[in-house]
């Protein structure tokens, strides 16, 4: 195991048992949290197979949160905003390079329950907008030219549970927070339509013949998710 990881775990255990028994349940005075997330979603819609060999590409994102207040002795209510994205990319029907990028912008509410000051299981619900952007491009080497593009917004909500571990402060009030969370993303289906990609030259684009959109059908991006978060509390 990596020496840094061992050191971090050691620091966590050390800080956990460093205080007195009553101090074990004292709240962490660090209302703000920013972080980076990585994870994956397990999509069920086989339409996503049009965009690659896997329906579970990596998801990366950023988040920020602020504790709003306490509920009783041990629970804390927090509000967060987050962005994450996943990209599907592959070869479609021997002739096209296909790509779908899905961005989820959401705001959520988290209720954390302090088991120890450093260990907080939590439940989170969030809602927001899911933006999907697709591009279908003829493979290089063919005489065909011009890609098809399309994008669509829809509503998405997530609900999940997780656990967050917080370290002792360092560099003043900074604390390292690590969380792992699993849950389900519910997204309304999107009707994806494509049209030729706009030309970079405005004059040439204006000269183009009118082109009718083509509907590729509906896409649902609902599915289970698992994500890990690493961030700072202060």
């Amino acid at each position: 195991m990596n020496a840094r990881v061992v050191g971090l775990l050691g620091a966590l255990v050390g800080t956990a048992w460093a205080g007195s028994a009553s101090a074990q349940h004292a709240p962490v005075d660090a209302p703000w949290r920013v972080g980076f997330e990585v994870g994956g979603r397990w999509h069920r819609d086989s339409g996503l197979d049009a965009f690659g060999d896997t329906r579970s590409p990596p998801v990366v994102g950023l988040m920020g949160a602020r504790d709003l207040g306490r509920i009783g002795d041990r629970a804390t209510l927090a509000l967060d905003v987050s962005w994450n994205a996943e990209m599907f990319q592959g070869r479609l029907r021997d002739s096209l390079q296909s790509r779908l990028t899905a961005h989820l912008l959401s705001a959520g509410v988290t209720v954390r329950v302090r088991t120890f000051w450093w260990l907080e299981p939590y439940a989170r619900v969030a809602a927001g907008a899911l933006y999907s952007d697709i591009k279908l491009e003829p493979e290089s080497g063919t005489t065909q030219s011009g890609a098809l593009t399309g994008d669509e917004w829809t509503f998405a909500g997530t609900g999940g549970v997780g656990v967050m571990v917080t370290t002792a402060p360092f560099l003043g009030r900074l604390r390292l927070a690590v969380a792992i969370e699993g849950g389900y993303q519910l997204a309304l289906s999107q009707e994806m339509r494509v049209r030729p990609q706009a030309l970079s030259n405005d004059e040439a684009q204006a000269d183009r013949l009118p082109v009718a959109d083509t509907s590729l059908g509906s896409l649902s991006q609902s599915g289970g998710y698992l994500r890990g978060l690493v961030g700072l509390r202060f």
């Binding site: 021997d94 065909q144 289970g224």
Partner: protein, 533 residues
């Protein structure tokens, strides 16, 4: 002590579900090829067939905004044809042989309308060729000798006759194996409705080396009639190449490659010996027709039928009186291998009459011959007028309904096309960058459309005044297909794009403002194709 573990099993099930979802295989349909068979027009729609997907995509151009529909067809489709005289496309599929995980499926024929409605007939054997009769009522599927059947065993003389006006049933289609003298079918032609034994009927004529087979489509239960064109000991491969029907006299005339004779099959009425026997019998006769006759046409009243035959080998035309069995040789100044009968005036006679244009497309003749058919046997060459075009002809696109013929020439300083006015007997040179094989008449034959390979410009010639024009489109054109439309006419230019790209041009107002493109239509419904996991 027993330790209860049901809750663990529950979590185990959830975990297993998640793991399976994460590892779901990609739907194989998304890896299949998008290649299409050459599209055809079915009324106001274009029909594309994607063999790997066993699917037809119908682009309905009835409205200003095209509607795209997808229709399942039989497995392994090999060709799509427009149904003659109907707004329907016919897709011939060879079916599936069967493999691990793939159930065998019989060959089939699928009819698809512009509205996307489909009918299907099961054919059984994996035929790879299709012929239709003149009014599109009957289709015959057969084996083309040049293509593999893709099966361990097959009988190349098996045919399936489909009554396209009727649904699939016990007697439709009719599967037959035509009698063979060692050959295989080279092609199939259908007669127009002709009276045989006092009954109007349609015959299918299967052409094979040295023999032909007649099938009575009005009585499919009756046995076929096979007629040898040569003696059994004659080793010549006399391949029937053209059939002309005399519908009033129950007679057909066959021209064959490798033969200087025409074959006359007169269908004589007989009393059938059994319910499956025919009520006619062919009587074979031969007529001398010069050296290697290349084309023939039938004219004259029913009781005085005559054949006009051109034989480039002997540089003449022959008029054969089929009743008197006499032949009149008409010398020609210009060699000819094609006959075009037309009804129209001439510069000396404004009264319409049946006339003939004789020309050659073999690249050796630079003149054409107009023949007055009235009194041709007595006046002979006095009835022939030769028109010099100044350039050799290597292609022809006749349109007798509009009294014009377009000729293609090797590129020269005087233009590579000529529009011949059959009435005035004048030829207008047209400069063109395109070969004539890519030219298409539109549905109401008001204009001729051309598209140079890989060029972005669509050219056209108005046939009422021979005025040419062109329209610039957004992408190189690979083909042009006129389509029928209730209000006005439309022409569709096809562009190269595996996802489908067409431009629909208003044939009555050929401008960019009235043109619309449709792109990506072969991907319609792409995301809904996979099976839900």
């Amino acid at each position: 002590m027993n330790v209860p573990i049901p809750s663990f099993n529950r979590y185990q099930g959830v975990a297993l579900t998640l793991a399976l979802a994460a590892c779901a295989d990609r739907d194989p349909r998304y890896a299949l090829s998008m290649e299409t068979l050459p599209p055809v027009a079915a009324g106001s729609a274009l029909v594309y067939v994607q063999p790997a997907l066993s699917r037809a995509t119908v682009v309905d151009l009835t409205q200003d905004t095209p509607a795209v529909r997808q229709v399942a067809v039989g497995g392994d489709p090999v060709l799509v044809n427009a149904r003659v005289a109907h707004d329907e496309a016919l897709v011939l599929s060879r079916g599936q042989r069967g493999a691990a995980g793939v159930a065998p499926a019989p060959a089939s024929l699928t009819g698809i309308t512009a509205a996307g409605a489909a009918r299907r007939w099961t054919l059984g054997s994996p035929f790879n060729a299709l012929a239709q009769n003149g009014d599109g009522r009957y289709g015959m599927a057969y084996f083309n000798r040049s293509a593999s059947a893709g099966r361990l065993l097959f009988n190349p003389n098996e045919v399936a006759v489909v009554d396209l006006n009727r649904e699939q049933g016990p007697t439709n289609p009719v599967i037959r194996t035509v009698r063979s003298f060692g050959g295989v079918p080279n092609g199939v032609v259908f007669s127009p409705t002709m009276t045989v034994a006092g009954e109007p009927r349609t015959l299918a004529v299967v052409l094979s080396d040295a023999y032909v087979t007649l099938l009575d489509l009005n009585h499919p239960e009756r046995s076929e009639v096979t007629v040898r064109l040569t003696l059994p000991e004659d080793p010549r491969a006399v391949a029937p190449a053209q059939v002309v029907f005399d519908t009033d006299n129950a007679t057909m005339y066959l021209r064959a490659d490798q033969s200087n004779d025409l074959y006359v099959l007169r269908l004589v009425t007989v009393t059938p010996e059994s319910p499956t026997a025919n009520d006619f019998r062919p009587a074979l006769n031969q007529l001398a027709a010069g050296v290697r006759p290349a084309d023939l046409a039938l004219f004259g009243e029913p009781n005085a039928r005559k054949l006009l035959v051109v034989s480039p080998g002997s540089r003449d035309a022959r008029v054969i009186d089929t009743v008197a069995n006499t032949t009149t040789v008409v010398p020609l100044d210009a060699v000819a291998n094609r006959v075009l009968l037309f009804n129209g005036p001439s510069p000396r006679s404004p009264a319409p009459a049946l006339r003939a244009l004789l020309y050659a497309t073999s690249g050796v003749a630079s003149a054409v011959s107009f023949v007055e058919l009235t009194d041709i046997e007595s006046r002979r060459s006095q009835n022939v007028e030769t028109l010099q075009l100044g350039r050799v002809i290597n292609q022809a696109l006749p349109l007798p309904e509009r009294a014009v013929v377009m000729f293609g020439h090797p590129t020269s300083a005087t233009g590579s096309l000529s529009l011949l006015d059959l009435g005035r007997r004048t030829a207008a040179p047209i400069f063109s960058e395109v070969a004539l094989e890519s030219a298409r008449f539109d549905d109401d034959q008001q204009a001729l459309w051309v598209a140079p390979p890989s060029g972005e410009r669509l050219g056209y010639i108005e046939l009422n005044n021979f005025r040419p024009g062109e329209l610039r489109l957004d992408a190189p054109i690979v083909d042009v297909i006129p389509v029928a439309r209730a209000a006005g006419r439309r022409v569709v230019a096809l562009h190269e794009a595996s996802d489908g790209w067409i431009t629909v041009v208003d044939g009555t107002d050929v401008t960019r403002e009235r043109s619309r493109s449709l792109r990506g239509f072969l991907l319609t419904g792409l995301l809904d194709e996979g099976e839900a996991q």
